[in-house]
Amino acid sequence: MFESLQTKLNAVFEKLASRGRLSEQDVDLALREVRLALLEADVNFKVVKQLVARVRERAVGVEVMQSLTPAQQVVKIVHEELLKTLGEPARLDMSGPAPHVVMLVGLQGSGKTTTAAKLALSLRKSNKRALLVAADTYRPAAVTQLEVLGKQLDIPVHSEGTKISPPEIVRHALQRGREGAYDVVILDTAGRLQISEEMMHELEEIQALAHPQEILLVADAMTGQEAVNVAKGFHERVKLTGLILTKVDGDARGGAAISMREVTGVPIKFLCVGEKTDAIEPFYPDRLASRILGMGDMLSLIEKAGETVDRAAAETMTRKLVKGQFDLEDFLKQLQQIKKMGPLSQLLEMIPGMGRATKDLAPDVTDKQVRRIEAIINSMTIDERRDPHLMNAGRKRRVARGSGTTVPEINDLLNQFRQMQRLMKQMSSGGRGLRGAFSDMFR
């Protein structure tokens, strides 16, 4: 559904074929696309206006660098401005004496309870003991939910049912936090609308008695234009110290983060990326900026590769790739490495421009494809793998029998491999081949 901004801008500048300095006209054409992309990503329209104005100021008259296309140049400026707005990542403030109080606030259904458990777990990993506090007495079974999570993780939960007022519960919890020498006390508060006077007053009460060191707004990555008013509303009543963006594992572009950050000026501290209690990550502005621009999450992919792929082998592979000496033997090794990294469909999502394309690919289909490709290559001799041109009709029939496939399937693979080799060469010179290569392979 979304094309990356880069692709759109490529189209804009193809018509212009302009080099040299970016004229006002070029820039305005490009900025139309930039505006659309940001709005599609749910960045608040006022914030979009400011951003676009800043980009315009910087882009007009800029010399297009030798190494970049005009489109890349504009994307680079937009990306930089987004980065500036997103700001530096920040950790939990753990200065001063323990226990440190962390209060989670937000709208209904934004994910506070799960996030509380995730924070407690991640703190334990850095040897900090957390006490979870069930201060949502409104939503049916919210207390039980936190208790269940605490039990699963073996993390203590302070709960007093639903009959006692949340400020009172917090008061008791703080005492228990001090007596039990906990490092951190995490308050899970009820979801509330920022316009609900009564409920916002309750937050102020809790704030006044607990003096939380961190007041974190937990917000859904899918939030639309209202993100601005929600963040502003909470910030005005209880001074926020940070933001947590949840449900980032979906396909929302997450422009709300930019909006919230712009109106509050507080840092984004964590991203939540799944329902499991360990699915919480530090925030990397670079990745979020790319995501908002629909540029995929190449960095996560590279990091993931870093965890599983043997570095020296990867370097040899890259050298071969660039030189176009990549053969089927290498390809097989590569597939096996990729398989170690996890389900293919998940990996493909991280590649720029691939995100949406892969939504249509079911993992069982892609993984079946991979198995078939493996079977075919395994049935080939080393010589054939090194030089696919050796594959004549007779050899193809033999490989088909050996791998339980058919000659047309083998032809397909060989064709695609040749195409891929070509595309890889283009890509290493900065084209946009990867998407095509992959979608062809798994058609």
Binding site: L39, P140, Q145, V148, I195, M222, G224, G255
Partner: protein, 315 residues
């Protein structure tokens, strides 16, 4: 029996009032400003840009907003409209057109057991909406049973059981971690045999529409319904948080593909979010909004009335 499900004038007025009340903030914030724009002297190019921005701000999305403005502009020119009131009438008309006239819900058709499947992303308001639906249909004389097929989220079963008690409706549940398909199978059997229920509403675990395995699981739940009861599920409603931005379209698309969603429940309209994504979803996917959620209590709920909705936000 049918009469029970047709709204009385009083009910209608009550529903309209709920929508009105929940949107009054919206009216001032959003369409209030549209009125201001139109009150300003002449309609200029800038006016249209501003109007487009206002629609975008209401989460209608850039496509819907720009199309709407283009239509409006063309009509205003063609019909040589100058008066603010006329332009507003045309805007109202165009907005209404986007919501079309949806086919009537098939819930009330006579059959032994009607099955409603409720789906959506995490935290959108499924379980609460199910409590509201239970109360709503119970008040209209149906024997309602709920199936607790969210066996995944911590305390989800406890949550729906509490709602069952509050609304006086039976909940059929198994242990946490049970297979949702098995829960639904049991619930249908029980509804048909011992409980003699007329309406079974199924709560499902929240899931992001991009999760392949979880969507497959949901397809299986749907298949169980289809196998057990003719034509079931008779309605599959996607619960959508009005605060959601453009991603709602992707949600609706994926859920529709996986489990043939037939309509939308738009929740949290008591907040400041405008719920404008409804226009885009109706336009792009033809999914009508059926109900709106206007608060956390079981009676904070109303049937969606396109006319009342548009009226309420423009007047």
């Amino acid at each position: 029996m049918f009469g029970l499900f047709r709204k009385t004038a009083a009910q209608q007025a009550e529903d309209d009032a709920k929508i009105q009340a929940s949107l009054s903030k919206t009216r001032q914030g959003f369409f209030g400003r549209i009125t201001t724009i139109f009150q300003a002297n002449e309609v200029t190019d800038e006016t249209w840009d501003e109007l487009e921005e206002l629609l975008i701000q209401a989460d209608l999305g850039i496509n819907t907003a720009s199309q709407l403005v283009a239509h409006l502009r063309e009509r205003v020119q063609r019909e040589r409209l100058k008066r603010v009131e006329d332009v507003r009438a045309v805007l109202k008309d165009e907005l209404l057109k986007l919501l079309a006239a949806p086919p009537v819900m098939t819930i009330d058709e006579p059959r032994l057991l009607t099955v409603m499947l409720i789906v959506g992303v995490n935290g959108s308001g499924k379980t609460t909406s199910i409590a509201k639906l239970a109360r709503y249909y119970k008040a209209r004389g149906k024997k309602v049973v709920l199936a607790a097929a969210d066996t995944f989220r911590a305390a989800a079963i406890d949550q729906i059981k509490i709602w069952g008690e509050r609304t006086g409706v039976e909940v059929i549940a198994q242990a946490p971690g049970a297979d949702p398909g098995a829960v639904v199978y049991d619930a249908i059997r029980a509804s048909q045999e011992t409980r003699q229920a007329e309406l079974l509403i199924i709560d499902t675990a929240g899931r992001l529409h991009t999760k392949y395995n979880l969507m497959k699981e949901l397809e299986k739940v749907r298949a169980v319904c289809a196998r057990q009861v003719h034509d079931a599920p008779h309605e599959t409603l996607l619960v959508l948080d009005a605060t959601t931005g453009q991603n709602a379209i992707s949600q609706a698309k994926h859920f529709k593909e996986a489990v043939q969603v037939t309509g939308i429940i738009l929740t949290k309209l008591d907040g400041t979010a405008k719920g404008g994504i409804v226009f885009a979803i109706e336009q792009e996917l033809g999914l009508p909004v059926r109900f709106v959620g206007t608060g956390e209590k079981a009676d904070d709920f109303a049937e969606f009335e396109p006319k009342a909705f548009v009226d309420a936000i423009l007047d």
